[in-house]
Amino acid sequence: MTESVSEPVATSGPPRMPVTVDVNGVSVSRQVEPRSMLVDFLREDLGLTGTKVSCELQVCGVCTVLVDGRPVSSCTFLTADADGAAVTTVEGLSDGQTLHPLQESFVDNFALQCGFCTPGFLMMSKALLDGDEVPDREAIVEHLEGNICRCTGYEPIVEAVEHVAQELRGGAHG
């Protein structure tokens, strides 16, 4: 996509700085306060409310988004640090018609429960599966240990990710 969105420079209020961020393939230019957190930028400025906020301590993982392919806690990531970067949120997983294989697998494996932690688990899982090696179950569990599901739906979540990993490996195990 080459769509570009910008807004006029603010003339009053606290000092702001320009940022241009590629969000899910769309280039977005805005003026933000230095203290603007990426999660607030995504949710409030861009209306992308798929990314959730919970602990604000980098512990629970629900606010996970990818910045240049790496998972970060958007609750503790300055929007200014995303200037010039590509940000992928849960809204960027699907093309609007077809679910991402991870989303399909979460549905198939009943890995959703209340759904609040789901965007974070999906984005953490995408970061893992986008790596050089296809992870085994142990690596999946370890990688997802940094995300919390209060419904304790961990087993189906791990199974959903493992299912996609097996498909990436050529379906040898399933």
């Binding site: 203290r35 957190m37 980098q58 512990v59 993982g61 806690s73 503790t76 893992l128 940094g146």
Partner: protein, 267 residues
């Protein structure tokens, strides 16, 4: 929760960064500890001086038998760095298991040391490795050991006008090393580093996370390392991870496990 307002300054040279540091401005890199401290109301700086654009604070190299790691290097990059994997694999393995994947993407090794988080895996292993840090201020440059630098819980011996530039680890040709930890929450209950250079008769043990600061000791042989004796030498802080008695127990258990793991490590 919204942070209090601040200015964000982005120097591209060390000299410029030093000029920007004042009583009311602080170095900023990954923000994994600073932004949390600001959110908790513990810090309210007027300005953050972003160190990520300063080339001298990045990169990993070997300089005259010493592994030099730029302070702004992020944990995820260090975990995968070819030079670390080749020359000091125990360090790369430790970096691979810090915090969680998000913290590793964002957090820097220098920030980790400067915040002197008592449960830092990095400080424990670096103390055991007899590593040093380089600090630069407008008055000049100094090198201090990590043991002299990380002196208290959340207290590193760094002046407000100083910047941590790099971490220096002496390399040893025949070094074997293991780092093991026990962790049920976001930070470890105990971390144990054991290092052996048999040719030089150099043996080191570091224990972190149980107390206010990591501790490290030298030994003449691996046989001299008595897990129960080590458990009596640490000074555990009772907290949500366990009582003093419990932490002494897991210390002894993990010293045994570290020694057992070292036996499986060839270099």
């Amino acid at each position: 929760m919204t942070l209090p307002p601040f200015a964000l300054v982005r120097p591209t040279t060390l000299e410029e960064a030093l000029r920007e540091l004042t009583e009311d401005s602080v170095p900023y890199c990954g923000g994994t500890e600073l932004l949390l401290a600001m959110r908790a109301g513990l810090h309210r700086p007027d300005a953050l001086v972003d160190l990520k654009r300063i080339p001298e604070l990045t990169g990993v190299r070997v300089d005259d038998g010493v592994l030099v790691i730029g302070a702004a290097e992020r944990h995820a990059d260090l975990a995968a760095h070819p030079l670390l994997l080749e020359r000091l694999p125990v360090f790369a393995r430790m970096e691979k298991h810090i915090g969680n994947a998000r913290v590793r993407s964002q957090g820097s090794i220098g920030g980790n040391l400067c915040f002197a988080e008592p449960k830092s895996d990095v400080a424990t292993l670096l103390m055991a490795l007899e590593a040093s840090v380089t600090l630069v201020s407008p008055g000049g440059r100094r090198t201090v050991t990590v043991e002299e630098f990380v002196v208290g819980p959340y207290y590193a011996e760094k002046e407000p006008d100083e910047i941590l530039v790099d971490i220096r680890i002496p390399l040893r040709a025949g070094l074997r090393g293991a780092y093991v930890k026990f962790q049920t929450m976001e930070r470890p209950t105990v971390g144990v580093a054991v290092l052996a250079d048999d040719a030089a008769g150099w043996y080191r043990l570091g224990v972190g996370a149980v107390g206010e600061v990591p501790l490290a000791w030298s030994f003449g042989s691996l046989e001299e390392i008595d897990p129960d004796d080590i458990a009596s030498r640490v000074d555990p802080t009772p907290d949500l991870a366990g009582s003093e008695e419990y932490k002494r127990h897991v210390t002894a258990v993990y010293v045994r496990r570290a020694l057992a793991k070292l036996e499986q490590v060839s270099s």
